[in-house]
């Protein structure tokens, strides 16, 4: 855990963390104002997670696809009004129309249908013949790539492997930063657990 490389990375991402924290706090403040402090536990959790995700995405917005996908997803979810207000508040200056337009339901539907088709095709092929190890390895990689695509926000639209891996790199880095910040905040506001850790 205390590697030199990790330390270096921590230093380089400290600016990002600070930015993320600022935006997150802004978003949380907005949440509190809008909901008037009477939230259920699940609502609170949702609000915290959403605001954290949005804050992280907005710190990385112009550069990466996954962040844009996160914002677009939040914008197109069920309780639109609330989310949109939050997005406007956190993301702020970025052009709204552009971000919202990145979600094209028709294209996502097309992707899904293509995937289903492919799966059907694959099943048929597996039944048909015995495959060589080379083909098998390729299939394994393909399967994992598909899973990774499903994990990354907006990964369905990344056809190129190079782009996918770049996005995965960035996403992992920012997720790491997010987790560290959140953990610190949780620890700061909940020191009992730390005292237990010490024992």
């Amino acid at each position: 855990m205390c590697d030199n490389s990790l330390n270096r990375m921590r230093n380089t991402s400290s600016v990002m963390k600070r930015e993320f924290l600022r935006k997150w706090m802004k978003g949380l403040g907005k949440c509190r104002m809008m909901k008037n402090n009477n939230m259920s536990f699940l609502e609170r959790k949702k609000a915290i997670k959403l605001s954290a995700d949005l804050a992280m995405a907005s710190t990385r917005t112009p550069a990466t696809r996954w962040s844009r996908a996160v914002i677009a997803q939040a914008a197109s979810s069920q309780d639109d009004g609330y989310n949109k207000i939050l997005i406007n508040h956190i993301v702020g200056s970025s052009p709204k129309g552009k971000i919202f337009s990145t979600t094209s339901p028709s294209s996502s539907g097309l992707c899904r249908s293509r995937r289903i088709l492919k799966r059907r095709h694959m099943v048929r092929r597996v039944v048909k013949k015995i495959v060589s190890p080379m083909v098998m390895a390729k299939r394994l990689v393909k399967k994992r790539t598909r899973i990774l695509k499903s994990l990354l926000p907006g990964g369905e639209s990344m056809e190129d492997d190079v782009v996918l891996i770049e996005e995965a790199l960035d996403y992992i880095q920012s997720l790491k930063a997010q987790v560290e910040v959140m953990r610190c905040l949780a620890a700061a506001s909940h020191p009992n657990t730390n005292s237990y850790k010490f024992i």
Binding site: M1, S14, M25, R32, N37, K45, Q178, N192, K197
Partner: protein
Amino acid sequence: MLRCLNTSGNFTGNCSDMMVLERQSMRMKWQQEQQYHQNQNFYGDSALGEVVAKSIKPEMGQPTFPSFGFGSPGFESSSAISTTSMAAAEETRNGDSVSEKEKMSSASGKQSLKKRKFDKLHSSKVVAESEKKEKKMKGNGEEGESKITEQNICKETCGATSKGNSKVSEVQKTDYIHVRARRGQATDSHSLAERVRREKISERMKYLQDLVPGCNKITGKAGMLDEIINYVQSLQRQVEFLSMKLATVNPALDFNLDDLFSKEVFSTCGPSFASFGMGSDMNNPAYLLFNNNSGQQFPPSIPETFLDSSCFHQILPSSAYESDLHNLMNVGFDQPRASRAASFLSQPLTGVVEASHHPKMEM
């Protein structure tokens, strides 16, 4: 017929201008041709045909020449010339082979065979011309490239030599990959793009390997992807869990500025609160002693000491911050006061004794 032979003679004359390697391959070709002719001339003679076939099978080079000459005892003139040609220099040998061919053609009276020979020579002339054209096109191109083209032509004209030449050309294929790609074949451009793409991917994968813990030992794309997937999933789950935790801790969602402050302190200091406390202890041994003394006396001093340690470390001593943190500590420590006190008492001691166990405790 004679004119054709003359042109071929000119061709050999031109050959002398070429490089040594090219000359060699040319000679090889000539020999191949001769063997072919002999094979045709004495088609009826089965024994000789077998000998010739044998001489063709083990690569053409120079050893085939004498064996061929030896294998045709019935043909004195050609054999004599061939033996002399062995002793002669390369250019003269080429000339001899031409003359030998002339004699052979004169000896064999059958017109159909002549026709065949004519065709053969014509084809060789065409080959030579195409080679010259290629040379002109490339100007003074690389030797390897011209060699490759030559060998390709050899492959086309004489199928028997393809075995040895293919090996050589494969070796050169690995050496001159970019050269071959520059020649503008469609498949090559595709493969080039594919190679660049793969290099890019592997480079990114290396970065990912550095980023994802426990990914260093794994080789193979599938395993690495597995590891990456697991890591991303675990991070996403952690975010989920932490947001849940924060929701339970803060019913009012009031993370105010002091939290922010303390958080920044922690983020620069380390990933977790625990390591922060330990780190400060390790950094200030003198302070540790003080902590030991005061901590044993009464529990209420503990938040202060904690604060002090952070001040030591961070150089951000603001009164508002201190008071806020004080409040926070008091609020947080309401119920498990006794256990916390015990833990904080034990902490400096363990810090002194087990300073080397820091990473383990952090985990």
